[in-house]
């Protein structure tokens, strides 16, 4: 009886230690320059994840031995192996950082949801597995179907339609439901509309941002948000709002618009406070949850008790009582994690979520096509906002809004939509590779990129461009962008590529008298740049 207790304690500390190592690696890997180093880190992360997974389920098993648990564990291991290997083989250029973190979050979710209810966990797992199969196709779709970028109005109508349907369904059934039941499955459309909404906004704001267009986009976004507020889904409404604001800011590059948006938000928030009693209640329990402890404040009080009980290192899996928090596995999973796995683990989890977000942004930064760029940014923003709302709500940093912690909380729609979201971003990540690759095949673009690289890195101190004999041998052919471009006169060069609303600056730049130096230097540059690019494009592998 006592040996297992000691063992469980040892396993607990092992999980914490591995989590800390994993988290440190998930951050430091961004700084690793050599692809080989990165590959090693990613492989180590996989090993750590599998050990955490194993130890977590071992503790669960020791606490309540049942065969179901073994079977379930085995299936999740197979699933994880399948996901990791398949993604790697089907999409060798996918971001490994993103896949690793996604799997890690899923593992934490599997352990925690199973800790509450193995039945729920199995259901969750089935949805995740189905979603992953779907997700394997998504990068392909994103890559091949350019029409996705031109269905703006489709997104708008589907999004508003789905959200409206929920309101109507709720009216009919006379309840404040946020889900639709389709073929036995209960779906929460707002989870999926989040993605559609991002695409709609990206479509609206990527092509132009005239005053008229901004007004149209704002009205449509406001419509989404209004429907969500009416259906009392305040969490989703906030996510949509923040996402729109951030996308607007990046698309228009106009901080004033964003400030006006924030100002409008403040007015709307104050109005909502006085108009809707449920908003008032949320704010009141945020200010003093203990005033109405046994009533509305109960959930957040229990959440705080759970966090306090956990301390830095946690009580150990199955040794706390996070079940006292109502709806713990949906809305308060983070508090449950803090109670049983401790604040150190929780902080690591926050950092992993941040690493995911940074990867999203990183991808957005490297994309040339404005639509994709905005989409990646928007998806990243919905993700980060959701994480902030749920963790901030559970810790009473902000009023609680009742949204899930993506991939970790229990909730089929949430897991499914998040996996899809990750897959889309993976698709975009590979697309970024495509853009570069196509550019390489196009001499004009190559020249332009080269010039851009010069602009980007040329002034970096301590960076020496080494000429290489081999480079010339390998056929990095010298280019003469200046002459070619000059031949076209003043006209901007249209590229043949998808994102080609291009404006070729090289042509103009060349007129500034760089033609003479062009050939030799650009050749060397191309070579070095290629090496650099090859390293970079391996980043995800």
């Amino acid at each position: 009886m006592n040996l297992p207790d000691t063992a469980v304690r040892v396993f607990h500390f092992a999980i914490l230690a591995l989590m800390v190592i994993y988290t440190i690696q998930s951050v430091t890997v961004f700084g690793q320059r050599r692809a080989k180093d990165r590959d090693r880190t990613f492989a180590l992360q996989n090993i750590e994840m599998f050990i955490i997974h194993f130890l977590g389920f071992l503790i669960l098993f020791l606490k309540s031995p049942q065969t179901d648990l073994i079977i379930f564990y085995a299936s999740t291991v197979l699933y994880l192996l399948f996901t990791l290997l398949l993604f790697r083989n089907l999409y060798p250029r996918a971001s490994r950082s993103l896949i690793n973190n996604m799997c890690m979050l899923l593992v934490i979710g599997f352990i925690m949801v199973t800790r509450f209810s193995i039945d729920q966990s199995i259901k969750q797992f089935e949805i995740a597995a189905a979603g992953t199969v779907l997700a394997l196709l998504i990068p392909l779709i994103v890559r091949k179907l350019l029409v996705l970028t031109r269905m703006t109005w489709g997104y708008v109508f589907v999004g508003i339609g789905l959200l409206g349907l929920v309101v109507i369904a709720a009216r009919v059934t006379n309840g404040a439901k946020l889900s639709l039941t389709v073929a036995g499955f209960s779906l929460q459309p707002s989870e999926f509309v989040k993605i559609i909404f991002v695409f709609a906004v990206a479509g609206l704001l990527s092509t132009q941002h005239s005053f008229r267009r901004v007004v149209i986009a704002t009205v449509l976004a406001a419509l989404h948000i209004l429907i969500l507020v009416v259906s009392t889904d305040l969490g989703s409404a906030l996510i949509f709002f923040v996402t729109y604001l951030v996308m607007l800011f990046v698309a228009t590059r106009n901080p004033f618009l964003t400030l006006i948006g924030l100002f409008a938000f403040c007015i709307a928030a104050v109005a909502a406070y006085f108009l809707f009693s449920h908003v008032r209640v949320r704010v009141q329990i945020w200010m003093d949850p203990f005033r109405d402890y046994s009533g509305t404040g109960y959930q957040i009080c229990q959440s705080l008790f759970a966090i306090a009980a956990g301390g830095w290192i946690g009580t150990g899996l199955c040794q706390g009582s996070p079940g006292a928090i109502p709806y713990v596995s949906q809305d308060f999973m983070f508090s449950a994690i803090l109670e049983e796995l401790g604040a150190v683990f929780g902080i690591c989890l926050i950092i992993i979520c941040l690493a995911v977000f940074m990867m999203f942004i990183n991808i957005a930064m490297k994309l040339g096509n404005r639509f994709y760029r905005l989409a990646a940014l928007g998806l990243g923003t919905t993700y980060a906002t959701q994480v902030f709302l749920t963790i901030g709500g559970g810790t009473k940093l902000i009023p609680m809004t009742g949204v899930t912690l993506p991939l970790v909380s229990y909730g089929g729609s949430s897991v499914l939509s998040t996996i899809i979201m990750f897959a889309i971003v993976q698709g975009l990540y590979m697309l970024r590779g495509d853009e570069v690759r196509r550019e390489l095949q196009d001499p004009e673009r190559e020249a332009r990129l080269m010039a851009q690289r010069m602009q980007r890195y040329g002034d970096a101190p301590g960076r020496v461009v080494r000429p290489s004999q081999e480079a010339a041998g390998r056929g990095a052919k010298p280019l003469r962008p200046s002459r070619e471009a000059a031949g076209r006169g003043e006209k901007p060069v249209r590229s043949s590529e998808t994102s080609g609303r291009g404006y070729d600056r090289t042509s103009q730049r060349s007129r500034a008298g760089r033609a003479d130096a062009g050939s030799v230097r650009t050749g060397q540059e191309t070579r070095v740049w290629r090496q650099d690019h090859e390293n970079r494009s391996r980043q995800g592998r």
């Binding site: 951030v246 957005a364 923003t381």
Partner: protein, 499 residues
């Protein structure tokens, strides 16, 4: 042929600036074009840092009070492995302990039966008092690791930590028996430290028999036996509130308060509200000091009419009316309702401590202590420290200043008035006992379900030169302060000074 790339680039950028046409779509994403993305990313990095900060903050600053929160039942699961610790006084008197018989059955025992009923509380049928507030510490063990592991191996339970309280057994006994059969409460505290020395609430119950009597205790809704009146009972303060009215007057007349003169004719009418002095006495000409020591209602009603309502309210709120008291003890908030638009009647009744004003005995003791302590209010507390079974101190609670609620000068003036009250005024029974007392009586009239009555109040401290003890007494339906509450206070003071 190589040129200096740096210089070349500068030229590049210049040209680029000229050519940059912001209205055109741009495909390439140089560093500059990522600025907005970077800003967005940094905002979220900041927000996430805030989340981490919040988690750290809870663990560093809030976790203790959350663990000890009265509603927190998380620690109860520890009782499977931990024997609930004792509650003891500083001199080692055991107020609550857990007895373990040969079969390992545990019973919670309270050696003093009813005497400490409310303040120590109970640990079955829910929890209350110290048993609830210190639940987490009582069920935690900081015994040496070796002992804990040994206990784990043998399957024995570990002895939980003991809670050592500042209550004084002798004073508590005196206060308990002095209050006698009255319903009401007594709070005794040290003005300069905030330590609670005694806390009695009646009607009471026997915590040893709480399991058996539970049904009756809960069913009896009229006398609310389980309520700790000392901290949660809300009473009209009656004339004891004149301490605060006087202060408000002092603040309104910082230079000429001593020229206050009032001719008491036994009654004062304004807007159909008639204020009379207690027992239809006529006090004649009075200055502020004699109006205070005579507890003259008409004089204070007159002051109430003159005072600016919002200034009056501010003074009351400085003394924490309408606010939580600075303590971990579960308590009710005192109420002061006067507003700008209050009628003359409300002004007069509020000034003499009637009206809608309500106060807890603990709060009155705190107000008295602040005056005794030269204006500095200490946080009231009754847990001195937590120690392990071996006597190692785990946590020590020290006196903490809450706030300076009045100036030393103001405190000095009020002390003079209160001294006069105890020498020649309504609390004159406290003079000539070998110690000097400053105090204020109160006879708080109430009406409940059509029945009227008078609660007997006394608030005071001793000695006047060097206050060591502050007392608040309320005896429900005890009549005037002089008749009931003052003799109770005298017994407590006698015990304190002569043992």
């Amino acid at each position: 042929m190589r040129t200096d790339p740096g210089r070349d680039d500068k030229k590049d950028i210049e040209v680029r600036r000229i050519d940059l046409n912001p209205k055109k779509e741009e495909v390439l994403t140089g560093r500059k074009h990522n600025m907005e993305l970077s800003i967005a990313a940094w905002i979220f990095v900041l927000l996430f840092a805030l989340l981490i900060g919040r988690v750290v903050f809870i663990n560093v600053f809030e976790s203790e009070s959350l663990r000890n929160n009265i509603n927190n039942t998380k620690a109860d699961s520890n009782s499977e492995n931990v024997i609930r610790g004792d509650i003891r006084t500083l001199d080692g008197t055991v107020l609550a302990t857990t007895l373990v018989d040969e079969n390992g059955n545990q019973t919670r025992s309270y050696p003093f039966d009813n005497v400490f009923a409310h303040v120590v509380g109970y640990a079955s049928n829910g929890k209350a008092g110290l048993e609830a507030e210190e639940n987490y510490d009582l069920l935690s063990s900081h015994s040496s690791l070796i002992k804990q592991i040994r206990a784990e191996e043998t399957g024995e339970k570990v002895q939980g930590d003991h809670v050592i309280v500042t209550l004084d057994e002798k004073l508590q006994q005196t206060a308990y028996y002095a209050l006698g059969s009255y319903s009401g409460a007594v709070v005794v505290m040290e003005p300069d430290s905030g330590r609670i020395l005694a806390m009695v609430s009646k009607p009471d119950f026997n915590p040893n028999a709480i399991g058996m009597e539970w049904e009756n205790l809960v069913a009896d809704s009229s006398s609310s036996v389980l309520l700790n009146r000392a901290t949660q009972g809300l009473y009209p303060p009656g004339s004891t509130f004149k301490m605060i009215t006087s202060l408000a007057y002092l603040r309104a007349h910082p230079t000429d308060y001593s020229s206050f003169m009032w001719n008491c004719e036994g009654a004062l009418s304004e807007d159909d509200v008639r204020i009379t002095c207690y027992g239809d006495q006529v006090h004649g000409m009075e200055d502020l000091a004699s109006a205070f020591s005579n507890s003259c209602n008409t004089a204070f009603a007159h002051i109430g009419l003159e005072l600016d309502n919002s200034e009056f309210k501010k003074t009351a709120e400085d003394f924490l009316f309408n606010h939580s008291l600075p303590t971990a003890m579960q308590h009710s908030q005192s109420v002061f309702k006067l507003t700008k638009d209050s009628s003359a009647g409300e002004q007069m009744t509020t000034a003499i401590g009637q009206g809608d004003t309500l106060v807890t005995p603990l709060h009155m003791a705190l107000v008295t202590s602040a005056i005794a302590n030269g204006g500095i209010m200490m946080r009231p507390y009754y847990v001195d420290h937590i120690e392990t079974n071996d006597g190692t101190v785990v946590k020590q609670y020290d006196p903490e200043i809450y706030k300076k609620v009045l100036t030393p000068d103001e405190a000095g003036i009020l002390t003079e008035y209160m001294k006069k009250t105890a020498e020649s005024g309504t609390a004159a029974a406290l003079s000539g006992n070998g110690y000097t007392v400053a105090g204020k009586t109160g006879s708080a009239e109430y009406e409940k379900d059509g029945v009227t009555g008078t609660h007997s109040w006394f608030c005071g401290f001793a000695q006047t030169t060097e206050p060591h003890i502050a007392i608040a007494v309320i005896a429900e339906d005890g009549g005037t302060g002089s008749s009931t509450a003052v003799p109770i206070a005298k017994q407590i003071l006698d015990t304190f000074f002569y043992g």
